[in-house]
């Protein structure tokens, strides 16, 4: 079920895995691993940014530029994970691998933004980062 979800999520834009003989490795291992890690790590970074750095501690990292720094950090991790996953499973590297990593970066940006919007209201210093919307105070 989870495998099917991530398989669809990535193949929606990437098409069938190439080289095709590693289709099962992508679908059963690499896509679900990458997708799950993407969600967990993005959520963790968002939580750390809003709740640890800007609530439990007062680090002064509440500006949008700081938020962007964490967004980029998450994107870098999101690029590295697929490449590592592909190599760790003995799959021949192909330009598909990098398209996949690139798509994962885009998903990481979207997800980071989404989590930020959902969770920023609980932050003390950064509840308006990156934008004030939808919170009103």
């Amino acid at each position: 079920m989870i495998q099917k979800f991530f398989w669809g999520l990535y193949e929606m834009f990437l098409g069938r895995p190439i080289p095709a003989n590693f289709t099962n490795d992508y679908r059963e291992v690499v896509f679900p691993n990458t997708g799950l890690l993407l969600i967990i790590i993005t959520l963790a970074i968002v939580l750390i940014y809003y709740y640890v750095l800007n609530r439990m501690m007062s680090t002064g990292l509440y500006k949008t530029q700081h938020w962007v720094m964490f967004l980029v950090l998450n994107a870098i991790i999101a690029f590295i994970i697929p490449v590592v996953q592909v190599n760790a499973n003995g799959i021949d590297t192909h330009s598909y691998t990098f398209m996949f990593a690139f798509l994962n970066v885009i998903y990481s940006l979207v997800l980071f933004f989404l989590f930020s919007i959902l969770l920023k209201r609980g932050s003390v210093q950064a509840w308006t980062t990156p934008v004030k919307w939808p919170n009103k105070k």
Binding site: A20, N24, E28, V29, L36, I40, G60, I77, G90
Partner: protein
């Protein structure tokens, strides 16, 4: 300063998280799956096929062999007395090696040697002799005066005795039929079939090896006109070695005891029901083309694939097959190229190439198990699932036609022919006609890739 140190410690925490999570869907390696110590429920292959394998494939380490040498007058020319300084005939050399391998070779357990002749009533007699006696016959020639032995009777008697002894029958003869009643020529095929009926009933197989040897002496043709007999001085006359027994035993005899076989070979009743094979989809040596992947990620061997040929990209992949138990001449690439068939059920499939293993391929452990590699092409699917078959059909050996003649009266003009050999072989062929059509049949299941 404080924010910065926090920042780095978060970094470290993140990397730690990444490392712990990296293993959530790890690839299970093929080695792990093969490991017998791991208590995983047996997969389809190991539970279903494992019990069948030993009976089918494992050759016994030793076999019992009965050797029958026909010693009618017609055989005398193959065995002229050997004199120093003059080489023996091919027949003598080959037979000497054969009986020596049977006597002293490590693959033969119980052995017995017989001289096949007929008594005054025309009944076949099988004289049990020692190794030294049969060796003497081969080297010094036949002194006895024995008229032509009727073929079917000799085969029947030798077969029955070998069945009783649970031994492989090795029958050496020129197979020139010499019946007392000429009418028997008409029914030669059905008589041969009748004589060997018990072999088929008991699940035995027949291998026929044809060879040529110089012939020095009186030649007794089957067709008695114009000459009843001729004196030959080294013309090439065929002789045959028939091997009858259980398939694994016969394999041991022809592959290990005889070793160098003549080019002319014919096999009847041979079938290999469990030929080890695997679609090779992740091997660096044989890269597949098009959309094809193993249905199960870790299957080893991979016997089921998912595929989807595209109009502009056909599917091609390689199947490794272990044919090491097949008779040697069937393992030749030229033979396989000519006779191997790739057929699809639910798809259009064809064979691209077939190669034998070599040093480079054997260096890859996963490929060392297979002796041959068949490249298969699938151009179109006609159903969502089906099979790709790789089959080796029973082929009537072409040499039989060439070695057969309707008139063997003049071997000087037409050397290397045997009277009505086709008819003799037809008789054996008819015996096994209703058995499986293929020597082996490998089927790779497929599903349309989703």
């Amino acid at each position: 300063m404080l924010p910065n140190t926090k920042f780095y410690s978060i970094h470290i925490a993140l990397i730690g998280l990444l490392l712990t999570l990296a293993g959530c869907y790890t690839k299970q390696s093929a080695e792990e799956e093969r490991d017998p110590d791991i208590a995983v429920p047996p997969q389809g292959r190991s539970s279903a096929e494992a019990p069948a394998e030993p009976t089918e494939l494992q050759e016994p380490s030793t076999v019992h062999v009965n050797v029958y040498l026909e010693i009618s007058n017609g055989m005398k020319g193959f065995m002229p007395p050997v004199v120093a300084g003059k080489a023996g005939t091919e027949f003598q050399e080959r037979m000497n090696r054969l009986v020596s391998e049977v006597q002293d070779g490590r693959y033969v357990d119980r052995k017995a040697f017989y001289l096949a002749k007929e008594d005054a009533q025309g009944k076949p007699v099988l004289d049990s002799v020692s190794y030294n006696v049969i060796k003497k016959y081969i080297a010094n020639g036949i002194r006895d005066d024995v008229r032509g032995t009727p073929l079917p009777e000799m085969l029947r008697a030798a077969l029955q005795q070998s069945l009783d002894h649970e031994a492989v029958a090795v029958i050496i003869s020129d197979f020139i039929h010499g019946p007392s009643d000429q009418g028997q020529f008409l029914s030669l095929d059905s008589d041969i079939r009748g004589a060997l009926r018990e072999a088929e009933r008991q699940g035995l197989v027949v291998a026929v090896l044809g060879d040529l040897s110089a012939f020095h002496g009186t030649y007794h043709p089957a067709v008695k006109k114009p000459e009843v007999r001729r004196i030959l001085k080294g013309e090439q006359i065929p002789f045959y070695t028939w091997v009858i027994g259980k398939q694994p035993d016969v394999q041991v005899v022809i592959n290990r005891v005889f070793r160098d076989l003549p080019q002319q070979q014919a096999y009847f009743g041979f079938a290999y029901k469990t030929t080890p094979f695997s679609a090779l989809l992740k091997s660096g040596n044989f890269k597949p083309a098009g959309i094809v992947y193993c249905s199960s990620r870790n299957a080893d061997p991979c016997t089921s694939v998912n595929l989807q040929p595209q109009p502009d990209e056909q599917v091609e992949f390689t199947v490794g097959i272990d044919l090491s138990t097949l008779p040697a001449n069937m393992q030749r690439v030229a033979y396989l190229k000519q006779h191997l068939k790739v057929m699809g059920n639910g798809c259009r499939a064809a064979m691209v190439s077939v190669i034998a293993t070599d040093e480079g391929i054997r260096a890859t452990p996963d490929l060392a198990r297979y002796t041959h590699f068949v490249r298969v092409q699938v151009t179109q699917l006609t159903a969502n699932s089906g099979s790709v078959y790789i089959q080796l059909p029973h082929v009537y050996p072409a040499w039989v036609e060439k070695w057969s003649t309707e008139n063997d009266n003049n071997p000087i003009k037409e050397p290397g022919r045997t009277y009505q050999l086709t008819k003799i072989m037809d008789g054996v062929q008819a015996l096994y006609r209703d058995q499986s059509d293929h020597i082996f049949n490998v089927s790779v299941q497929f599903n349309k890739a989703d």
